[in-house]
C-alpha cells in the first residue's frame, strides 16, 4: 500500500513540476555520434515526431519534460495510451525500441546552453 501511495505522490510531483523544453536550435543539439542514439533518432523521426515535434507538444502532449522511467515509456509505446496507438514489434523492433528509448533519454538531457552547440 505504501508503494502505491508513494507512486501517486511521485507521479503528481513529476506532472506538476515538468517544464516543456525546446528543441535545437533553442537548446543544444543531440550529438548522435553513438550508433544506438543515431538509430533511435531515425526511429523517433519515423514514428513519434509528427505528434510530438522534437519531443515538444503538438497534436499530442510534450514528453521531453516527463521523466518517465524507460520501462514505462516502453510499456506505453507497445500498448498505446488514450488516443496514442500501440506500436507493436512488427512496427518497431525490440532493438529499435531500445534505441528509441536511448534517444529520448538523451533528448531530455539537452540543455539551454548555446555555448555548447557545434557551429
Amino acid at each position: 500500500m505504501k508503494i502505491l501511495l508513494y507512486t501517486i505522490l511521485i507521479c503528481l510531483f513529476l506532472i506538476a513540476c515538468g517544464t516543456a523544453k525546446r528543441g535545437e536550435p533553442a537548446y543544444a543539439p543531440v550529438h548522435a555520434s553513438e550508433p544506438a542514439i543515431a538509430q533511435g533518432q531515425v526511429v523517433f523521426n519515423t514514428f513519434c515526431t509528427k505528434c510530438h515535434p522534437g519531443g515538444e507538444a503538438g497534436l499530442g502532449p510534450s514528453f521531453n519534460d516527463k521523466p518517465l522511467p524507460g520501462f514505462l515509456m516502453r510499456f506505453q509505446i507497445r500498448n498505446g495510451l488514450g488516443v496514442m496507438p500501440a506500436f507493436k514489434e512488427e512496427v518497431i523492433s525490440d532493438n529499435d525500441l531500445d534505441n528509441l528509448i536511448a534517444y529520448i533519454k538523451t533528448l531530455r538531457k539537452a540543455k539551454n546552453d548555446k555555448a555548447v552547440q557545434a557551429p
Binding site: M1, I3, L4, T7, I8, I10, C11, L12, L14, I15, A20, R22, G23, E24, P25, A26, P29, Q41, V42, N45, T46, T49, K50, C51, P53, G54, E56, A57, G58, L59, G60, P61, S62, K66, L68, F71, L72, F75, Q76, L81, G82, V83, P85, K114, Q117, A118, P119
Partner: protein, 484 residues
C-alpha cells in the same frame, strides 16, 4: 510484484490524465494569433543555430508566397492575391531593391493565389492557384508581359496549382492539390467558400479507378437537406459499388510537367493531397512537400503528418486511401469517437512508397529548397517552411505546430529545427507578442547558395470557423552565416 504492476498502471493513468487528448481543448497557433495590424519586427526574436543571423529585407507585403532571383541576383517577390478567408486581391510580381523599395513588375487577375515562382531562361514562371477560373501556369517577361501557358487546371477547391520549378530536363514541373480533404465533397468545402461558387466541382483521378461504393451523408449548410455524396463526385451525387471513375489529365493531387512553351503536358506522379513545394535536390531527384489530411468533412482523418516525398515517375502516393505509406485499414487514423476511414478504391495503383520524411501533424509544411553551399552549411539537406496550424478548423492540437523553418536530412528522414521563435514555447510571433516569425510559407536560397530567404505570409487568425488574414503583414527575412 502485483503491487508494482498496479503502481505502474496507475502512474501511466495519471500521466495520461495530465496529458489526456480528449479532455483538453485545442490550443493551436491560428486560434492564439493576435490580429495586430502594426506588426513589430525584430530578427533577434528568432532563434538560429550559432553563427547565423537574420534580417528583414522587405515588409508590409500582402500575402507574399515566394521569391525568385534574376540573372543579376535581384530579388523578386510575388503577392498571392488570394488567401484562405476568401480574400480576393490582384496578385503581383514585385521587384525588391537592395534598400527595400518595391516596384510592381506585373499584376495578375483575381484568380489567385499565386503560389510559387521560378526564374528560368530569362523569364519568370508563376503558378496561379485558380480559385475563381481554374489553375494556370504563367510566363512573365522582364517587362511584365504575362502569357498564359496552361489554363483550366482543376484547382478550384481546397488546394491550388503549386510550383513551378524548372527541371534538369528544362521542363516545368508543378503540382495540383486536391479539391477536398479526403475525396468527398461536403459542408467543409462550403465553409472554405468554393462549393457555393462551384457546386459541381470535385476531385479527378489521374487514371481510371474503381470505387468501393461508400457514400457519405451530410446536411446542406443552406437548405438543411440531407445530402448523399460519393468519392470523386459533385456534392449530392452518390456512387455504386464497382463504379468506374474515368481518369483524366490534368488531375487532382498530381505532379505534372510541361515544356517551357506550355506544350506536351505529362503526368509525373499522383496520389498526393496538396503537393505544395517542389524542388530538385543537388543530385537531380525531385522532392515535394505534401500537406496531410485534416480532421474535417464527411470523411475525417485524424493524426496524419505532412510528408516530404522523393518523386518517382509514374508512382501513386496513396491519397485518398493511404497516409505516409500506411493504409487506412481500420487500425489507425480514426478521429477520436468517430469511425475510422475505410478505403474508397477497390484496388490501388501500386503500394505507395515510404516518405523521405514525416513532419508535424497540421504543420502545413509548404515551400522547400535544398542547400547547395558548404559555406551556408548542410549541403544536400532540404529546408522546409512550416506555415503553421489552422487549428481548430483542421482539427485539434494541444500546442501550436509549425510556424518555423526546419531542415531535413533526406537520407534518413531526421528533421531538425533551423529557425524558430524564441520563448518558452513554439508559436507565431503575434501569439508570443514578439517580433519574430509569423507564418513561413516558403524558403529559397540565393543563386550562390549563401543566403536563405524566408517568405513570411503574415498574420492569419482562426476563430469560430472563420479565417482572417491581415493585409500588409507579410515579411521577407534573409538568413546568412557569419561564422563557421
Amino acid at each position: 510484484m502485483q503491487l508494482l504492476f498496479r503502481s505502474a498502471i496507475l502512474l501511466l493513468i495519471l500521466v495520461s490524465v495530465a496529458g489526456c487528448y480528449r479532455m483538453r481543448s485545442s490550443n493551436g497557433g491560428a486560434q492564439g494569433t493576435n490580429l495586430i495590424t502594426d506588426r513589430p519586427l525584430n530578427a533577434a526574436d528568432i532563434e538560429l543555430p550559432v553563427g547565423y543571423k537574420a534580417e528583414v529585407i522587405a515588409s508590409d507585403l500582402t500575402f507574399p508566397t515566394d521569391v525568385a532571383f534574376d540573372n543579376a541576383g535581384q530579388v523578386y517577390v510575388i503577392e498571392a492575391g488570394y488567401s484562405y478567408g476568401e480574400e480576393f486581391l490582384e496578385p503581383k510580381l514585385i521587384r525588391i531593391a537592395p534598400d527595400g523599395n518595391k516596384t510592381i513588375v506585373a499584376t495578375g487577375e483575381k484568380n489567385g493565389p499565386w503560389t510559387g515562382i521560378t526564374y528560368h531562361n530569362r523569364n519568370f514562371y508563376v503558378a496561379e492557384g485558380g480559385q475563381k477560373k481554374g489553375g494556370r501556369i504563367l510566363k512573365i517577361t522582364a517587362d511584365g508581359t504575362i502569357t498564359v501557358l496552361v489554363e483550366n487546371l482543376p484547382s478550384l477547391g481546397d488546394h491550388h496549382t503549386n510550383g513551378p520549378v524548372a527541371g534538369p530536363d528544362g521542363k516545368l514541373y508543378f503540382g495540383i492539390g486536391t479539391a477536398t480533404n479526403s475525396g468527398v465533397v461536403g459542408p467543409d468545402n462550403y465553409d472554405m467558400g468554393w462549393l457555393k461558387r462551384n457546386p459541381d466541382f470535385h476531385d479527378i483521378p489521374c487514371q481510371d479507378i474503381t470505387v468501393t461504393g461508400q457514400n457519405f451523408t451530410s446536411t446542406h449548410p443552406e437548405t438543411n437537406q440531407t445530402i448523399t455524396t460519393g468519392a470523386y463526385q459533385p456534392y449530392g451525387t452518390a456512387v455504386k459499388e464497382g463504379q468506374v471513375i474515368q481518369g483524366a489529365l490534368p488531375c487532382s493531387g498530381s505532379v505534372l510537367r510541361i515544356d517551357a512553351d506550355g506544350g506536351n503536358m505529362e503526368l509525373v506522379a499522383w496520389g498526393f493531397r496538396n503537393p505544395f513545394g517542389l524542388a530538385f535536390a543537388p543530385g537531380g531527384n525531385l522532392f515535394v512537400t505534401d500537406n496531410g489530411y485534416d480532421e474535417r468533412g464527411s470523411r475525417s482523418v485524424w493524426g496524419v503528418g505532412d510528408y516530404l516525398w522523393q518523386v518517382q515517375q509514374g508512382q501513386w502516393y496513396g491519397w485518398p486511401d493511404f497516409a505516409g505509406g500506411l493504409a487506412f485499414n481500420g487500425d489507425r487514423f480514426e478521429t477520436p469517437s468517430k469511425e475510422a476511414p475505410k478505403p474508397l478504391l477497390t484496388q490501388h495503383p501500386n503500394k505507395p512508397p515510404h516518405p523521405a520524411a514525416t513532419l508535424g501533424v497540421h504543420s502545413s509544411s509548404n515551400g522547400l529548397d535544398f542547400s547547395t553551399s558548404a559555406s551556408f552549411g548542410h549541403p544536400g539537406e532540404a529546408f522546409i517552411a512550416q506555415f503553421g496550424d489552422m487549428a481548430p478548423n483542421v482539427g485539434k492540437v494541444l500546442a501550436p505546430v509549425g510556424f518555423k523553418v526546419v531542415r531535413v536530412n533526406v537520407a534518413n528522414g531526421v528533421v531538425t529545427d533551423f529557425a524558430v521563435n524564441k520563448g518558452k514555447k513554439n508559436a507565431p510571433a503575434s501569439m508570443l507578442k514578439t517580433g519574430g516569425l509569423e507564418r513561413p510559407v516558403a524558403v529559397k536560397f540565393s543563386p550562390d547558395g549563401t543566403a536563405l530567404y524566408i517568405i513570411d505570409f503574415g498574420v492569419m487568425h482562426v476563430k469560430d470557423g472563420k479565417t482572417t488574414p491581415l493585409k500588409n503583414t507579410g515579411v521577407i527575412w534573409k538568413v546568412t552565416r557569419n561564422t563557421r
